[in-house]
Subunit: 282 residues, 2 copies
Amino acid sequence: MMKFYEKYREAVNRNNSLVCVGLDTNPKLIPDFLNQEPDPIFAFNQRIIDATCDLVSAYKLNSAFYEAHGSKGFEILKKTRDYIPAHIPAILDGKRGDIGNSSKMYAKMAFDEFGFDAITVNPYLGGDSIEPFLEYKDKGIFVLCLTSNSGALDFQMHGKPPLYLRVAELVNKWNTNKNCGLVIGATKAELLKKVREFAPELILLIPGVGAQGGNIEEVVKYGVGTIHVEAKRKSCSAEVGLPLLIINSSRAIIYASHESDFAQKARESTITLRDNINKWRK
Amino acid sequence: MMKFYEKYREAVNRNNSLVCVGLDTNPKLIPDFLNQEPDPIFAFNQRIIDATCDLVSAYKLNSAFYEAHGSKGFEILKKTRDYIPAHIPAILDGKRGDIGNSSKMYAKMAFDEFGFDAITVNPYLGGDSIEPFLEYKDKGIFVLCLTSNSGALDFQMHGKPPLYLRVAELVNKWNTNKNCGLVIGATKAELLKKVREFAPELILLIPGVGAQGGNIEEVVKYGVGTIHVEAKRKSCSAEVGLPLLIINSSRAIIYASHESDFAQKARESTITLRDNINKWRK
């Protein structure tokens, strides 16, 4: 099986894109005419994937939006994951984490049962809660570090150094299988620089960027900055040129239109975001 | 609908018990003969519930053990939840948490879709990630505070005061609907005392106690200690006598035997734990 890291690199190169499309599909927000389909959420996802799969580096499925429909939702999650082309990485945004015995079950769910290439996990329970995920060496494990909501101030900034940097530091240490990443909210672009000091070699998954996001320049500047760090470290020189960045947009792409042209508009929004990002990559 | 808090109080009084049985059901660990049943996990859970429902204050279902089986697992979770008698609180141990929009979906899953009385959540994303759960005023929201694994040292002890006490302090503040609680690992019984200084009025959910747990005395002493705090605060005097403590045991009860007598042995282990706890309640 191709490693997440390699699959990601191939998708980035193939589609010349760092964009990840977030399939946070809410049945109340999809076009009315899809409700005549037997499975409206899946029908919506199919059309979004068809319209964007030559433009993205990954898809991210937010587990919450599927679980909200119980076991039926889990079926749609599985069908959608299986519909994503095999050469595009599929990330389960589940933010899971529990003591080892239970995390093992969550890893089994994400990787064995659903076949995702990567998952987001929550660091609160510490290293041994993340270990069962890391043991899947071919998968990508994105640990929550700094989020884009206002509540991020409650705990993520606690202590000296602030907790989020402590997380970045330890996850960087746990990266012995080269399968770790961090989740960093795009609204905190200036803090990316600090994260990179602690974690120069991790892929950053950046949610919170819209098609019109004004901080794309900063995100790319500080996120891609890692190339230079790696270039200096001779041991990693083979990776020079890889951006180590996945920039997610959900609502701004999938709900770009609520009419029958939603898939075409999603495609256009993805192109706009891809080009906005690529403008700053050189 | 009866509030979680009232339902918990009634169950404690009816069964004279603080024991919560954790249904972390692993198909590899259930007696062989159950594999002839059409749904072995559910058959196991039914028998455990039948054998213990007059002895407990709550049941806790660890979501990970069900999700590991995909949509079929979510069906078993639902069937098991529905099988728990209506007067006994059912807690979903899901450790969920995401930005507001997504947490709302997780709350919908736990409360509207599955009908749980309470859920465990992860505090890492801060107050606005927990808010959508708290808006369900009739439900119990248990926030992870201090866990029993060795990884708890990685982040929960970070800063001054340590992060877990900051969590206890803020959750106590967010308790305006009187529906908050904390999850505190039993192996840290001596730290319960500190938690109680910051959060005197929250129900504590204590996992990690086995039938032979040597620290039950300390857990009860420091956990139930809140009664005295509340007694001193005249405003809460109506609650004097309520222990504000839920002590969970999973494996030591449900796997007390792997033979055909497993339900009877689970009953006996529950009685032993209940009596061990009650010995220290007076």
